[in-house]
């Protein structure tokens, strides 16, 4: 029986549809398969979580959709962004989509910002690459974007270099960059892993607000169950390159079907649970 998926109702097609995706790397020892026949959907306005431990293939799945896999990776299967094929189009067509229709929020914001370029210029690049606009127009849009991601005093902050931002602000700047052209899909690859919990809580709230106000679909990669539970509508659980189960978040937590999901739930310590290991 198919589970009820509210965001799929009334929508013509998913924002992102992945079918039987495989990602292989050529190694001396042979072909290494990191993603093994993964199929997943992200519907418009939906926040979909992909949860898995290290080596589960979750990040490779996400990068496949951007076609930004490391050198030597081979993609098989089908990926469609709003019905548009992403696997067989040329590099220049793909480039036109990146940053415009599909955006990436990476794990490590500090490393992902160019240290020698002012934040404002970097945040404005999507406009520069995809819309012919004057620098003045871009500049004022960047200020608005930084305001939208709740960076205080954006008029002066646009002139800062990345190292003058705190970790949380760097991640907000990355989010602003992703939002710039209101993409159909935002891929967030563990965007809060490097952050403190209090900062993480604010970033998660920001992402939820973005979905509510702007309507972008979000594919959220994480290894933390708590984040999935709090943020996502629908969850895919991955292990060893495969999807072991998917479903609405509440059902996954309350009635997991796969043994692996159950084990994950068992293993995750909780602040609400009394410790079990005490004798």
């Amino acid at each position: 029986m198919r589970e009820y998926r509210p965001h799929a109702q009334g929508a013509a097609r998913p924002a992102l549809a992945i079918r039987e995706l495989t990602v292989d790397f050529q190694r001396r020892s042979g072909l290494l398969r990191t993603v093994d026949k993964v199929s997943l959907d992200v519907w418009p306005k939906e926040i979909v979580g992909v949860i898995g431990e290290s080596g589960s293939g979750k990040t490779m799945t996400a990068l496949s959709a951007m076609r930004l896999l490391p050198h030597g990776a081979k993609i098989g299967g089908a990926i469609a962004l709003g019905g548009r094929d992403l696997v067989n189009i040329g590099e220049s067509e793909m480039r036109a989509l990146r940053g415009d229709r599909i955006a990436l929020i990476p794990q490590d914001a500090m490393q992902s910002l160019n240290p020698t370029m002012r934040v404002g210029r970097q945040v404005g690049e999507p406009y520069e690459f995809h819309r012919k606009q004057s620098y003045g127009a871009i500049w004022s849009k960047v200020v608005e974007l930084l305001r939208a991601v709740k960076i205080a005093d954006p008029e002066t902050r646009v002139r800062d270099y990345p190292h003058q931002f705190s970790g949380g602000m760097q991640q907000r700047a990355m989010i602003a960059m992703g939002l710039a052209l209101d993409p159909e899909l935002i891929i967030a690859d563990e965007p809060t892993t490097a952050l403190d919990v209090t900062v993480q809580a604010r970033i998660l709230k920001l992402l939820r607000d973005i979905r509510d106000e702007r309507g972008s679909a979000i594919l959220f990669i994480t290894h933390e169950l708590g984040i999935v539970a709090e943020l996502c509508d629908w969850v895919y659980v991955m292990k060893d390159g495969k999807v072991v189960e998917d479903g609405p978040v509440k059902r996954i937590f309350e009635a997991p079907k796969a043994d692996y999901t159950r084990m994950l739930l068992e293993a995750t310590p909780s602040i609400h649970r009394r410790k079990g290991a005490k004798r």
Binding site: M66, L68, G99, S112, T116, E125, F129, Y161, H163
Partner: protein, 316 residues
């Protein structure tokens, strides 16, 4: 930024003082040889003693050093033991020759290294990269004085294109000046480019694999924008640091190259000083070369500070 410059200047002054004392001690550590060298092998002990007293060489080393340092700072480099000529004005005459040679050579080295290194990095692990890397290995193994000899053999003796040596000031005859300078500059520059190619290549490979390059691609940047705007500037920080050291090496190598091409620069002055054991000449010319290298390092330190915004603001 001011803190940065101040601390660099202080380090520079300290370095200069220690470096000058190292030079002084190195030159003067063996006593008596200057007098013997100036007066010849048959000089009597009395004559030697008289020579030493006359030039103050019989006093404690520390006193000699203090006096030399004091004089040097006021621009008095002393007189040659050999012919009594003032060393200072002679240095000033020779400095432009060496500077022209070194700068010319350095420009050649960078013109070769920057594009080749960057291109190799962009073609990492492919044929072009391997070819350029091999070229850099080959060039790096060529002794510059051998390259100089080969150039003379081919361009002067065989094709009779260029003069074998000598120096004409640029202001007197620019064409002749360039004709005379091109071979010495090539000998130094080509060899120096080997290391710089490698550095540029390594720096670019590192930068191109960084997360912010992926970010630029994720925003839809074209490859040209990725390289020119995001990669090159970040690769310049490590490159400039090494280039400064390489310039120092190149500047030291003028001693050999000026000797081969009969260029009347500081480098050949060093040799004159050594061969004649003419200590004032040796000290003054060695110190001048060191000073130029230190100044270049100082400038580069400050320039690199500008290239990397992280360092500028840390010192605010």
């Amino acid at each position: 930024m001011r803190g940065l410059i101040l601390s660099r200047l202080a380090a520079f002054a300290l370095t200069l003082i220690v470096a000058s004392s190292i030079l002084f001690v190195a030159v003067n550590v063996v006593p008596g040889s200057a007098a013997r060298s100036a007066l010849g092998i048959d000089a009597t002990p009395q004559a030697l003693a008289r020579f030493e007293a006359q030039h103050g060489l019989d006093r404690p080393l520390v006193v000699q050093y203090a006096e030399w340092l004091g004089k040097t700072f006021t621009g008095d480099f002393g007189k040659s033991f050999q012919n009594g000529v003032d060393v200072g004005p002679e240095l000033l005459r020779r400095l432009p020759v060496t500077l022209e040679l070194a700068i010319f050579a350095f420009i050649i080295a960078n013109l070769i290294a920057l594009p080749l290194g960057a291109f190799a990095a962009m073609r990492h692990q492919r044929a072009a990269d391997k070819g350029i890397s091999l070229l850099a290995s080959l060039l790096g193994a060529v002794p510059n004085f051998w390259l100089a000899t080969l150039l003379v053999m081919v361009l002067t003796l065989h094709f009779r294109l260029l003069p074998p040596g000598g120096y004409t000031p640029f202001t007197v005859n620019p064409v002749m000046n360039l004709k005379q300078m091109i071979m010495p500059a090539l000998s130094l520059g080509i060899v120096s480019s080997a290391l710089l190619i490698r550095i540029m290549r390594t720096a670019m490979i590192e930068v191109l694999s960084s997360d912010y390059i992926r970010t630029a691609r994720a925003k839809g940047a074209k490859e040209g924008v990725v390289v020119m705007r995001h990669a090159i500037r970040n690769a310049m920080t490590p490159y400039v640091n090494v280039a400064a050291v390489e310039f120092g090496f190149l500047f030291g190598s003028v001693v050999v190259i000026e000797d081969i091409f009969l260029l009347p620069g500081i480098g050949s002055f060093v040799l004159v000083g050594i061969i004649n054991r003419d200590y004032p000449v040796l000290l003054a010319s060695a110190l001048t070369i060191t000073l130029v290298v230190l100044i270049i390092n100082l400038i580069v330190d400050i320039v690199v500070g500008r290239l990397d915004p992280r360092r500028v603001t840390r010192h605010q």
